[in-house]
Amino acid sequence: METLGHLAHGFSVAFTPMNLMWCLLGTTLGTAIGVLPGLGPALTIALLLPITYQVAPEASFILFAGIYYGAMYGGSTTSILLNTPGESATIVTALEGNKMARSGRGGAALATSAIGSFVAGTLGTLGVAFLAPVVVKFALAFGPAEYFSLMVLAFITVSAVLGSSSVRGLTSLFAGFVIGMIGVDLQTGQPRFTFGSTELLDGVDVIIAAVGLFAVGETIYMASRRYAGKDEIVPLKGSLYMTAAEWGRSWKAWLRGAAIGFPIGAMPAGGAEIPTFLSYAVEKKLSKHKQEFGTVGAIEGVAGPEAANNASAAGVLVPMLTLGLPTSATAAIMLSAFQSYGINPGPLLLTTQANLVWGLIASLFIANVILVVLNLPLIGLWVRLLKIPAPHLYAGILVFATVGTYGISQSPIDLVILYLLGAAGFLMRRFDFPTAPVIIGMILGPLAETQFRRAMTISNGDWSVFYKHPLSLTLLTLAFIGLVGPHIWAFIEHRRRRGTEHVPGDA
């Protein structure tokens, strides 16, 4: 009840015309920068920090929250339409989303992503308002051993994207491990796989890899196949928005995605990518339309991950607002904005700055509404992007990729990496290797390694941490069931069917 009172007060802060304007501006700007690969919400907020000198704290946080949520929407738009993920959290969206766009269901993919983001964003924000203390307790119980077990669980998602051959799929995964290991080893400070180059010490950005493998690789492949006449893009088939059947397939995926995304987002090292992987795997496992995955595009495979990434974006705010813990780059920048107002973010924030915090939470609700209202009518426009003649479309994608890659780092080395990965993406496409496992390997490999070694350092080399911690054991068990379960299930099915066959014979 107390929370409701706070929330009502928060809405009274957010619902002033000026603050609504900031929210609108933030969401618009967020959508625009979400579209650009490489330019994320963290960087944008960092660059707009000087605003804090000019306006009231409420206004700038409402602006920042709008940018943060908006970027998640914008990132999925380019993932779906151009196969060029704008944010790392929307890489998975590209897998099914772009397939849908190419087979004429881009409108439905964009709609399920917008509405799913709204649903999950709202649920997540409700979670921030009502569940924060519980969730944060759970999140802090996650130590390195638990994280490692979570990674192991996440690895079973690879099986969902392996494609037609597990040997080739695993090869992609291992290639991802190698790319992910490039750079300074966090635990010991030693350079790995850098071939003596200073530029490689920071590693390869996962967005650059995704854009290279997906977008640049695709462009080269399309050029090499120009006269083959296959893979023609169908801009629109059927209704622009979702059909009743597509609604029916989406809503459960949204809820599941939100349930996966929110708690993982709240974990200090959870991030937004892992919940999207997990959600994708869950949806593929549960879907009744498995044949659509990877071919014409399955709507569940867009709805789930999109919901998961927005819920995780809300989850990130839990430790930030309750403990002053920044668990993502964006949260860290927002905390430094608090500092420039002389507000010290910490465990006392909620009591000392109740106005600000509840105003922020209320504006998150408003941002979600604005985003869905803003994005749904735009879908008609976006889909027409697919009608751009191939030369301009593909040339534009390459310019786009350059802006994001070169723009931030100013380093030609990043362009070299982008194009090399583009060449690799082309070869992989040509020889039927799936590209998604490379990205999964790049993200999960180093995380799993770091957490494993961290756990071993803390426990002083004692392996038992992984099964003596109840949470860790639970996660490992889940992973085991996920991996072995389907086989056992198939075996039982097989036996049962054979059994029933016998019965009529006997009778």
Partner: protein, 325 residues
């Protein structure tokens, strides 16, 4: 349809330009110079904030008419440094932001260039470090911590920032001073302050070392206990001894400063020092420092050059002990 997308993007961009116009609208103070600020890190980090805060204050104090900030990020500044040395050579209106982290990165990455090749202008700010433990920890004082470390360093996992960074260096210095071999230390590096903090709050490590600002609020709320700080003297409002007072003869500031490129004239160098000094002594700068938990530790010209050289030697020695150089 490209047109409409462009239209959308440019409207968004234009509205942002209105907002962030303060970046660029030149304030045209008569006769004040235009300067270039080179930040060898990505936008958003500590050096970038130093650069952008300098830009704000210099402009509000009418010391410059405007500035252009260039970010070349990567590898603790060792990607940007060679560029600054070769491509910015002789540009008298340019400043590079740098600091202790760069000194460490140059040594750990075995970089080809180092800070003796640029022109030291001024050390501006420093952040002292804090040694903290979870509230439930049995360690009540720094002496308890040292005693446990001496008994068996492998049983005292300490969380902090990246390997070879300022937190790791301080841990190494503490161990060295109390006679614990660096090779036995159990240091658990985390990528960001938030992650290390959560390991402490979750009681997964024995202690943590990081910039004081990272921990101050948790200490205030009673979630962490502050054992000691690495400042040179007691700080107002902080109820903890310095390491020296606690019997560990170590002092460490994670300092940040500015450098001019190589090959600038003495007149340019003097002008830069005067300008930066005026900025660092202004009230606006003092307010920024207070808000951001920076301690102003101004040191200019040759004294600064001497300090950089000494600090480099000290860091190199400790990184060798830690097996990183």
């Amino acid at each position: 349809m490209l047109n409409r997308r462009r239209f959308l993007m440019s409207t968004a961009a234009a509205s942002a330009a209105g907002l962030a116009g303060l970046h660029h609208t030149p304030a045209f103070a008569e006769g004040a110079p235009q300067i270039q600020i080179f930040v060898p890190a990505a936008p958003g980090g500590g050096w970038d904030q130093t650069g952008r805060t300098m830009d704000q204050v210099l402009r509000s104090e009418k010391l410059i008419s405007g500035s252009q900030i260039t970010n070349v990020g990567g590898a603790g500044g060792t990607v940007g440094l060679p560029q600054f040395i070769s491509q910015w050579n002789g540009k008298g209106n340019s400043l590079m932001v740098g600091g202790m982290v760069m000194v460490g990165a140059i040594i750990a990455n075995k970089a080809a260039n180092n800070l003796t090749q640029v022109t030291p202008i001024a050390r501006l700010t420093g952040e002292f470090e804090a040694l903290v433990v979870p509230a439930e920890s049995p360690f009540k004082t720094a002496a308890d911590f040292v005693a446990a470390l001496k008994a068996d360093p492998t049983k005292v996992p300490v969380a902090g920032g990246s390997a070879g960074g300022s937190d790791h260096i301080l841990f190494g210095l503490i161990a060295k001073t109390v006679g614990v071999p660096a090779a036995n230390l159990s240091y658990v590096p985390f990528a960001g302050g938030g992650e290390a903090l959560s390991a402490l709050l979750g009681n997964q490590v024995a202690a943590g070392i990081s910039g004081f600002g990272e921990f101050s609020e948790q200490v205030k709320a009673g979630a962490l206990r502050l054992l000691a700080i690495s400042a040179d003297k007691r700080q107002d409002g902080i109820d903890a001894p310095t390491l020296k007072e606690a019997g560990i003869d170590v002092e460490l500031f994670n300092w940040r400063g500015v450098f001019a490129p190589p090959g600038v004239s003495d007149a340019d160098k003097a002008a830069m020092i005067t300008m930066v000094e005026a900025m660092a002594k202004s009230d606006a700068w003092a307010t920024e420092c207070k808000n951001r938990n920076w301690t102003s530790i101004l040191l200019t010209g040759d004294d600064y050059a001497k300090f950089v050289a000494e600090d480099s030697a000290r860091i190199e020695a400790i990184l060798k002990d830690l097996g990183l150089a």
